[in-house]
């Protein structure tokens, strides 16, 4: 009734009574109510006892109404049925009678209109209409779920940025010497950190609206884990063998060597991580729409989660091999894969609104690495030699890389078990609705 399509077109009135299509319809509706009286009389009588002055409203009662032919044409029709037909969309959609009442009122139906349908008020008219809507047919088609935003190429390029910057930094590190090298390293580290921050702020790796991590900041501990991946093995080796004798030189050889492969691999792995996170979000969103119950959803998402995780590990392994070949360093699959898995799981959990566990586990893992190095140094103090025994034994048996592998693998496994429980919940994949 408010749609522009229903506005009557300009033109002179042809007859004296039904001035346009709608008033004719209304006149017919009134006549169809079986009242025997036509519009003017009805309305006049309906509001008359209120003691208003109404001279003009009574006039149509005197003139034989033009509603006459319309009445005979449509007189036999059940008036409520006509009304229901006119508002059939409202009736089919309504979840209770009050919704029909609100909709009818918005279309100008008042208690006095309802009186023409032999009802006390709009509410009882709406109740009759609600009761008469056929409901045994097929359920109405489900609304099409809102499509996820399309993948954006600029975002995809953004995820590649940390890897590229990291590669450039490592290249600069290898090509320069002395003060320039220090400068290159400082600028490069800063640039990579900024690029990482940008990657984690938007796109599939960013926490969704309403899932801000709040007090659970993990940035410092993550940086420590990465730094350990690059320098930790060298430090531990040097510590066990009595060093280190000086600061790291930034080269793969020397007393405190730098392992650039894990850093480059993990920086490049931002891209597959973002793709995997998006894959998980899109697929889980689709399962969400087709699931009937929470259990069903959990059962269908669990293999998806594990599959995505495996896919990421495969990508990481390939990247590790490529980087190791390019940099001419030993690959060190175990350390890179466990750390990458740990960081991915932590990010996924944070993204889906569970920041507590990743924060705790990352902190614990980083602290364990600090502790491992600290015990070796503490063992040099007189009488404290026993402190260094566990780490030294491990290093002697498996090499210095065994320490971070053990720690990260434990942490990643913990997070994986946690993710298998939490990320399969429907509430983790709820689309955040617009506020208010």
């Amino acid at each position: 009734m408010s749609g522009l399509g229903e506005l009557d077109r300009p033109g002179t009135p042809e007859s004296g009574g039904a001035w346009d299509a709608r008033s004719g319809e209304w006149a017919a509706g009134e006549g169809g109510a079986g009242s025997g009286a036509h519009a003017g009389v009805r309305a006049g009588a309906g509001a008359g006892p209120r003691g208003q002055e109404r001279s003009g409203a009574d006039a149509p009662a005197d003139a034989p109404g033009p509603a006459g032919p319309a009445t005979s044409r449509r007189g036999a029709v059940d008036p409520v049925k006509t009304l229901m037909h006119r508002h059939r969309e409202l009736c089919e959609r309504a979840v209770d009678p009050l919704e029909i009442a609100a909709g009818l009122e918005a279309h100008g139906v008042t208690d006095r209109t309802a009186a023409r349908f032999r009802h006390r008020d709009v509410f009882s008219l709406a109740e009759e209409m609600y009761a008469r809507v056929p409901r045994d047919g097929d359920p109405p088609p489900r609304p099409v779920p809102a499509a996820l935003p399309r993948p954006r190429p600029d975002r995809a390029l953004l995820t590649l940025l940390p890897g590229i910057l990291c590669a450039a930094t490592i290249g600069g590190l290898r090509l320069t010497q002395g003060r320039t090298r220090l400068l290159v390293v400082a600028v490069g580290v800063l640039a990579v950190l900024l690029a990482l921050r940008a990657t984690l702020r938007r796109g599939p790796l960013s926490p969704r609206a309403g899932n801000r991590p709040g007090p659970h900041r993990t940035g410092a501990w993550t940086c420590w884990l990465l730094a350990y991946a690059a320098l930790g093995d060298g430090l531990l080796h040097a510590a066990v063998t009595g060093g280190p004798d000086g600061p790291p030189t930034g080269t793969a050889d020397g007393a405190w060597p730098l392992a650039a492969t894990p850093l480059l691999t993990l920086a490049l792995a931002c891209a597959p991580a973002a793709w995997c996170a998006r894959l998980l979000a899109v697929r889980a969103g689709r399962r969400l729409d087709t699931s009937r119950g929470l259990e069903e959803f959990a059962a269908s998402v669990r293999p998806l989660l594990l599959g995505t995780f495996t896919l990421y590990l495969c990508a990481l392994a390939v990247l590790t091999a490529l980087c190791a070949a390019a940099l001419g360093e030993p690959a060190g699959y175990a350390a890179t894969l466990t750390l990458g898995a740990l960081l991915l799981l932590a990010r996924l959990l944070t993204v889906h609104g569970f920041p507590h566990a990743p924060a705790a586990v990352l902190t614990a893992a980083a602290a364990a690495e600090v502790l491992a190095v600290a015990t070796v140094f503490a063992g040099r103090l007189p009488g404290c030699g026993f402190l260094a025994v566990p780490v030294e034994t491990l290093v002697a048996a498996r090499g210095p890389a065994a320490v971070p592998v053990l720690i990260c693998a434990t942490a990643a496994l913990t997070l994986l078990l946690h993710a298998a429980r939490t990320l399969t919940r429907a509430s983790a994949h709820a689309r955040t609705a617009a506020p208010c």
Binding site: S23, A57, R93, L98, A102, D111, R292, G293, S427
Partner: protein
């Protein structure tokens, strides 16, 4: 008289600049300078918070705001016991929403069985709501819990339970998530830190007010409900538009939030808002609808008739005073329509009616004054212009003059009608031809201007106009034409109707009557249900017997102190005026020991029977 402290609860309105209904609250606060207002505002979006506040008068003691559009998880993780408590309460809430039979409003007339069922349903909803509120107050962390999987599971259980609503049984996972998200948003006021009783160093909260006044229904009244639950603060709810109704109207439109258009979601959310409204009406000490239409909805949703008091919205009458009191300088053949141009105003019908009027009154002119509302309104205005041009050819007074159309479309602020008052003053008769109307502000303005009016019988028109104007059925151009024609031919009757309309408007629709009505309601509520508070001594310990038993009884307290000493002399530590733990709220009668027993007998007033009898016995 002692100042009352009133907690004004708003949602997305006052004191924000961009808030709707801000004007009304502003007038109320400014009009009641003798009382103190604490404003508790829920904001509806970041744009409101950046836009800032309106200037606040000095009687506003404090403003506390909370965002409704975002909630910070306070990071409290529940232990086993708290989680069980939450699951129980939330499960109860979900079960109360899913129960079938709740599809009907509680006020439906189905007989005693249904009424009993709906009463138990309302109790269930209320106890679940207050249970969640208690949990939030004791433990915090409700935001996280409402978002958690436990909440969704509880919803699923309730939906799959036998006897659940038909629509709820078909709920799927996205529906459950949408309902849980909506409930989390709607229940955010439960986690606010407003519910402090004002003692200690904590900022003053709702516990220290004498009365909560919710400026709208729905979520804004939720803090008021909780204040009533925690501190027995009485609640006054003012609804100029019924929230439940606007929820229904908003839920079906395409611009409703995505995911909330599924039938199961709409059924559950409608049940939630319906139950919330019913609980609000049940707990409120007084409910003030703005017009009879809102009143009917409130009655329908379970509001007790005894609590309902219609308070018409107030309007500035000053700017119409000159036109209303001055002589009628209008062209006696001019009809005026004033308002925002939109399809609901049915200008087409008015133009058809005017064509009929022109047959009998060839000199009649019609001025349509108003700006279009939105793109739809602009299209409608263009359509009406075209129709007018087709119906009425341009006319000139003589063969040598330039002609003009008898129907003119103007906007306020133009050279012909610089102000709204002059727009009304330009017409001998003001016409309202709407098919849908809420509270017809334009009609009330025309009444202030002392114009004779012809309106269609929609919305609150009949209630506003009373007997001081003519009313015709909507969509009846012929009746409209006859009535307008009759008025144009009868200047005396026009003057009579105009004067009566102005008198009625000045009686009912001024800002002053609105403010005075609320002032009266405040005093009445506070006298009927004073907030019970305990008096504390200097050390902060409760002071026993500082408030005599009579203070808990209704009635006046004249001579009460004397009567207390007549029966028993109070202990020394109760002699001085007690130190209040909270701000002074109830006039506590001092247990003064100065008056001798003999004089007290003569000053006994027949207020509360028990002490009177004992005092009388003592005298004998």
């Amino acid at each position: 008289m002692r100042a009352l402290r009133i907690g004004l609860l708003t949602e997305g309105g006052y004191p924000y600049v961009s808030g709707d209904a801000g004007l009304w609250c502003d007038r109320l606060v400014r009009g009641l300078g003798q009382h103190e207002f604490d404003i508790y505002a829920l904001s509806c979006g970041p744009h409101q918070e950046t836009a800032g506040w309106v200037a606040l008068p000095p009687q506003v003691g404090g403003v506390r705001t909370a965002p409704l559009w975002t909630a910070e998880d306070d990071g409290v993780a529940y232990g086993r016991r708290a989680r069980r408590r939450f699951t129980e309460c939330y499960g109860e809430l979900a079960a109360a929403l899913c129960e079938s039979g709740g599809a009907d409003a509680p006020g439906s007339t189905e007989g005693h069985g249904s009424e009993g069922a709906s009463a138990s349903q309302a109790d269930r909803f209320a106890s679940a709501l207050y249970g969640l509120a208690d949990l939030a107050r004791d433990e915090g962390g409700l935001v996280g819990a409402l978002r958690s999987e436990g909440a969704v599971r509880a919803l699923e259980r309730a939906c799959r339970a036998p006897g659940a609503l038909r629509a709820a049984r078909e709920a799927r996972v996205p529906d459950l998530l949408a309902v849980a998200a909506h409930l989390e948003r709607a229940l955010r006021p439960l986690s606010l830190d407003w519910y402090a009783d004002g003692g200690g160093d904590a900022p003053r909260g709702l516990g220290s007010v004498d009365l909560c006044h919710a400026a709208s229904g729905g979520v804004a009244a939720l803090p008021g409900l909780l204040a009533g639950h925690f501190f027995d603060v009485p609640l006054l709810v003012t609804e100029y538009g019924v929230r439940l109704r606007s929820h229904y109207l908003g839920s079906g439109t395409p611009d409703a939030p995505s995911g909330e258009s599924a039938p199961a979601v709409r059924a559950l959310l409608a049940a939630f808002h319906g139950r919330l409204a019913a609980e609000m009406y049940r707990q409120a000490a007084c409910v003030t609808p703005g017009n009879a239409h809102a009143r009917r909805w409130q009655e329908r949703c379970g509001a007790d008739r005894a609590k309902l008091r219609t308070v018409h919205p107030g309007m500035e009458s000053d700017r119409f005073a000159e036109v209303g009191d001055g002589p009628d300088g209008a062209d006696p053949h001019t009809l005026v329509w004033v308002g925002r141009v939109e399809p609901a105003k049915d200008l087409v019908s008015l133009l058809h009616a005017f064509a009929e009027i022109r047959r009998t009154e060839p000199r009649a002119r019609l001025r349509i004054i108003g700006a279009p509302a939105g793109p739809e309104g602009r299209a409608y205005l263009g359509h009406c212009r075209m129709l007018a041009a087709q119906l009425f050819p341009d006319e000139a007074e003589s063969p040598h003059a330039v002609g003009d159309n008898p129907v003119s479309f103007e906007e306020i602020g133009g050279p012909e009608v610089p102000t709204l008052a002059e727009a009304y003053a330009a017409g001998a008769v003001v016409v309202l031809s709407s098919v849908v109307e809420g509270f017809p502000v334009g009609l009330a303005e025309a009444m202030f201007c002392g114009r004779a009016t012809v309106s269609t019988d929609v919305g609150a028109v009949v209630e506003v106009i009373g007997g001081t104007g003519l009313v015709v059925p909507p969509r009846n151009p012929r009746a409209l034409a006859e009535t307008c024609g009759a008025l144009l031919r009868d200047p005396e009757r026009r003057a009579r109707l105009g004067a009566a309309a102005r008198a009625r408007a000045l009686e009912l629709f001024t800002v002053e009557q609105n403010v005075a009505a609320f002032h009266g309601i405040y005093l009445e509520i506070v006298s009927r249900s004073p907030v019970r508070r305990f008096a504390l001594d200097d050390a902060g310990d409760p002071l026993p017997f500082a408030v005599p038993a009579e203070a808990w009884l209704p009635g006046r307290w004249t001579g009460l102190g004397a009567r207390v000493t007549a029966t028993r002399r109070g202990p020394g530590w109760a002699a001085g005026p007690p130190v209040r733990g909270t701000s002074p709220a109830v006039p506590v009668p001092h247990c003064s020991s100065a008056s001798p027993p003999a004089s007290s007998v003569s000053s006994v007033s027949p207020v509360s029977p028990v002490p009177t009898v004992s005092a009388g016995k003592g005298a004998r």
